[in-house]
């Protein structure tokens, strides 16, 4: 859509707490969504939130089902072939998560051969798992929720997820209490890239520029921080 439009549509997944999720009143909420809506306000347009399953989230953008994606998407080379990204709006790392007391300490293909490892399909985590542990039994789920669900019910021995949601899940939710983070954060730039960005169609340069400007603005005037603090203990923009 032309950046001059009066209203824009914001695409997100809605199954990735705390960044984006659906509340029991049916509203989509979360860090991504709040940031996204704030950016809209700064650009001066009304924004409508559209939920879209992860699998189809980039095709959905290309097919004009919404105008930009703010859904905790890592900026990667593969994705850059399809869409353009804004500057990162937060930095992230990935992490392993294991059931408490599982005693997994070594994270090599040999050590994890035969273990059941879960991740969300179509994510950088999935790519990481498939590339790093070819001899493990890898299970790929449609949503992160389902990975968590199955980890809690004990079907998987280990999962790789985004650092922040995993922190949130293991510490704040009831079912996440089963599990804990394991090993060091995964920061391999080959997978994590430059951080997490907002995706726009490649021809929508103007929109991308406006989003970048608005991002800088909310970062500068503290709005970003106040949203950040509602969700996280650390400043996710710098990860410090």
């Amino acid at each position: 859509a032309p950046a001059s439009a009066q209203s824009l549509r914001l695409g997100t997944e809605g199954a990735y707490p705390p960044f984006n999720f659906i509340e029991s009143n049916g509203e989509i909420a979360g860090f991504d969504v709040e940031i996204g809506l704030e950016l809209c306000k700064r650009i001066g347009v009304e924004c409508e939130v559209v939920a879209q399953d992860w699998d189809g989230i980039i095709p959905g953008l290309l097919a004009n089902k919404y105008d930009f994606i703010i859904a905790s998407m890592f900026i990667t080379e593969d994705r850059k072939k399809q869409v353009d990204f804004t500057n990162p709006y937060y930095l992230a790392a990935m992490t392993h998560v294991a059931p408490k007391g599982a005693g997994i300490t070594e994270f090599t293909n040999e050590a994890l051969a035969g273990k059941v490892i879960g991740a969300q399909s179509g994510t950088t985590q999935a790519d990481y798992v498939e590339a790093t542990y070819p001899d493990a039994d890898i299970r790929l789920y449609p949503t992160q929720d389902e990975v968590n669900l199955d980890m809690a019910s004990g079907r998987i021995d280990l999962q790789v997820g985004d650092m922040l949601p995993m922190l949130d899940w293991t510490r704040k939710s009831d079912d996440g209490a089963c599990c804990e983070l394991a090993g060091e954060p995964i920061t391999d730039p080959a997978f994590v890239g430059e951080g997490v960005g907002i995706a726009v169609r490649q021809e929508d340069d103007e929109l991308r520029e406006k989003l970048n400007a608005a991002l800088a603005e909310i970062r500068a005037d503290g709005t970003y921080k106040s949203i950040n603090d509602k969700y996280f203990d650390v400043d996710v923009y710098t990860m410090k």
Binding site: A1, N25, G56
Partner: protein, 236 residues
């Protein structure tokens, strides 16, 4: 337990009902689309023209052989891309147009329904008693008159059971649109599961709702069949 299903902000009753409404809308909008395609397919495969027959055969065979979910993805992802490419080619400045999941669902499910309905209708045509057609010819009726006065009124009777089955299948297939993010009953159920972590409860609830819809459909269809067969079978 019951507060889970409460209607309102706290519970999931309203979300699930809203999902149900989408599901029903989707099925009802798809039905005429599918029937229309079905008639086209049946006429094509019964036509005297070879290319038309081949077209009808190709359509029904391929659509029936592909998993519904594949069709849905092709329509949803592919058609949107194609549509926009087409528009750009036509007018480079055209605003990208929108292809809603609802429309994709209607088109994909309608295409599947149409392929199966084409076969049902063709079969119904062919199971009409040839003798009755000949009797029409023998008194000098034209082919059009025979079609309108003899074949069409009986077609319904032969096709109804098959079409009824297709309706029920389609009602269930609407669940597939949840994977393209249309907020139907199934997707709202998944959302509820994601939040409440009570998969069994909510998936069972969804199953029961679909089941109720199917049983209701069956009752109505049986009624329709009885009406269609008035005078055909012996009263006793």
């Amino acid at each position: 337990m019951f507060e889970l299903f409460a209607y309102g902000d706290a519970g999931w009753g309203d979300e699930i009902l809203r999902g149900l409404a989408i599901t029903v809308q989707l099925a009802i909008v798809t039905l005429p689309v599918g029937l229309f395609l079905g008639f086209l397919a049946a006429f094509a495969s019964l036509s005297g023209l070879r290319p038309l027959r081949a077209l009808g055969f190709g359509y029904t065979t391929i659509m029936r052989g592909l998993p519904e979910i594949l069709t849905l993805f092709v329509v949803y992802n592919g058609a949107g891309l194609l549509l926009n490419k087409g528009l750009r080619w036509w007018n480079p400045d055209a605003p990208p147009s929108d292809f809603s999941p609802f429309a994709a669902g209607v088109i994909a499910l309608g295409m599947v329904f149409g392929a199966f309905a084409g076969e049902v209708l063709r079969g119904a045509f062919q199971s009409l008693d040839k003798g009755q057609v000949e009797a029409g010819r023998a008194i000098g009726m034209t082919d059009r008159q025979i079609f309108r006065r003899i074949q069409l009124p009986q077609l319904w009777r032969f096709a109804l059971p098959g079409l009824g089955n297709l309706w029920i299948n389609m009602l269930k297939d609407t669940a597939l649109v949840s994977v393209i993010a249309l907020d139907d009953l199934m997707r709202m159920t998944k959302v509820a599961v994601g939040v409440t972590k009570q998969p069994f409860t909510f998936y069972l609830l969804a199953c029961l709702i679909y089941w109720a819809m199917c049983v209701l459909s069956e009752v109505v269809l049986a009624q329709m069949e009885r009406r269609a067969n008035r005078g055909i079978r012996r009263a006793v």
